[in-house]
């Protein structure tokens, strides 16, 4: 109960801060939309290749936009010194990680909600929105769980903008591939597809548990 209270309090603070500053979410949303527009014009989309190209474009937009937010998760507080003040409190470090993770999932989720209809219009691809939700949600949790952990690590370095993608991209490759393939499978029915959603869920479970445990060691100086 104490852990949940702490998670909620930190999350409430992050949401309130973001709603007032609007620094992160506006940038992320705009970036995702720009990527979708650029891909739409860059590729020669035809009926036969749309289903192959569109899921990749969608997840590239999500992943790149996510990195804009993930990079600021802890860096902004570290720069202002307020993260130290949070660490001074007798707060379970797991609560800090979970709150930051939930905040990231929420902010990325808002960007995805805005980007998905734009994607559907631009790429003109038929897909069942209901079936896409679990893929997007699980994919986002996977990206955010690894990203939140490494954003704490990168925040303590000078080259954080460079370091974060270098650390996170290799680790989330399985999640991104599985998410792209699972999204593609919604557009074109293919036989003998592996259980992509189960694969994403498995990666999420592994990354989430590891990150929750390791976060404590990453943030302590």
């Amino acid at each position: 109960m104490i852990l949940l209270n702490q998670v909620w309090t930190i999350l409430w603070k992050d949401i309130r801060t973001e709603l007032r500053s609007k620094q992160m979410i506006a940038g992320m949303g705009l970036f995702a939309l720009l990527v979708l527009v650029i891909f739409n014009f860059a590729f020669d989309l035809r009926v036969d290749n749309k289903a192959a190209v569109a899921p990749g474009a969608l997840w590239v937009a999500f992943v790149f936009a996510s990195f804009l937010g993930l990079g600021r998760t802890i860096a902004a507080e570290r720069e202002k010194g307020s993260f130290d003040r949070l660490l001074l409190c007798p707060v379970d470090r797991k609560a800090i990680y979970l709150a930051k993770l939930l905040g990231n999932v929420l902010f990325i989720g808002v960007v995805e909600i805005v980007a998905l209809p734009v994607f559907a219009i631009l790429f003109n691809v038929p897909f069942a929105a209901g079936a896409l939700i679990p893929i997007v949600l699980l994919g986002t949790v996977g990206i955010a769980s690894v990203g939140t952990l490494f954003s704490a690590m990168a925040a303590a370095t000078r080259a954080r903008e460079l370091l974060l993608p270098l650390l996170v991209f290799p680790l989330i490759v399985p999640i991104v591939i599985a998410s792209v393939r699972a999204t593609g499978a919604l557009m074109v029915v293919t036989a003998n597809e592996p259980p992509w959603l189960g694969l994403i869920a498995a990666f999420d479970a592994i990354f989430l548990s590891l990150s929750t445990v390791l976060f404590e060691y990453v943030i302590e100086e």
């Binding site: 603070k13 660490l87 001074l88």
Partner: protein, 236 residues
């Protein structure tokens, strides 16, 4: 005075990479005592305070606060320690009141809002409660940082140049708050560059030079003229 020090520092060393910052500090501070830490920039004052606050891990040495080992029992110790840095480090987008409520909740205080309002009044910011912390003046922000450090009524108060940015009223308030804390039996360790402030607010003076204790003396037994000479020598 109890026979066991409230804060015990034994052979404390800290290096950043190959650069030694603290080269073996031994200090004792008894409950209810006030210690002023003086020294030139880079002498290791802030590093020492950050270690005692549990923000930085020591490279070597042993620190006990109220009998608890700082490295092994950091979480229990955090409830006993309040820390004020020379910068306020607030959440700029939150109001002054929200900042205090947030930290009161982090310390799991019973009535976070009531406690936050009390402290805002105590530091003279009750009219600024709804203003964003980022819009407060430097002195007001430092007052808010003082209020935050006192929220959970810590036994040990660590202050790193707490008078930075404070105007005359702010300085008087700081002196008042420290006196109150001391009167309640609280223990205080603060750094300053102001020798007069150190003499006026402490029971013990410690001067650091190049990561070592260069001078330590009870304020009551100091020769006023000699101390200025010593300070000039150490700080230079």
């Amino acid at each position: 005075m109890s026979s066991k020090p409230y804060l015990e520092i034994h052979g404390l060393k800290k290096s950043f990479g190959l650069k030694p910052i603290l080269r073996g500090i031994d200090l004792n501070l008894y409950a209810g005592e006030r210690m002023a830490l003086l020294g030139a920039n880079g002498a290791g004052k802030t590093t020492l305070l950050r270690i005692l606050a549990g923000l930085t891990r020591p490279t070597d040495g042993r620190i006990l606060i109220d009998g608890l080992n700082l490295v092994q029992q950091t979480r229990e110790i955090r409830r006993k320690v309040g820390f004020v840095a020379h910068q306020p480090y607030l959440y700029d987008e939150l109001s002054a009141l929200e900042n205090l409520i947030f930290f009161a909740r982090m310390y799991a205080l019973a009535q976070p809002q009531a406690r936050a309002i009390d402290l805002l009044q105590r530091v003279g910011l009750s009219k600024k409660g709804r203003e964003r912390a980022g819009a407060l003046s430097r002195g007001q922000a430092q007052r808010l940082a003082l209020a935050r450090a006192l929220l959970h009524e810590p036994q040990l108060l660590l202050l790193d140049e707490p008078d930075t940015g404070l105007d005359q009223d702010g300085l008087a308030l700081l002196a008042e708050l420290l006196t109150e804390h001391h009167a309640r039996g609280g223990t205080i360790l603060f750094t300053t560059h102001d020798l007069e402030a150190a003499l006026g607010r402490s029971d013990q003076i410690v001067m650091l030079n190049n990561g070592r204790v260069a001078y330590q003396q009870a304020t009551a037994s100091l020769e006023q003229e000699r101390i200025h000479e010593v300070y000039q020598e150490v700080v230079r």
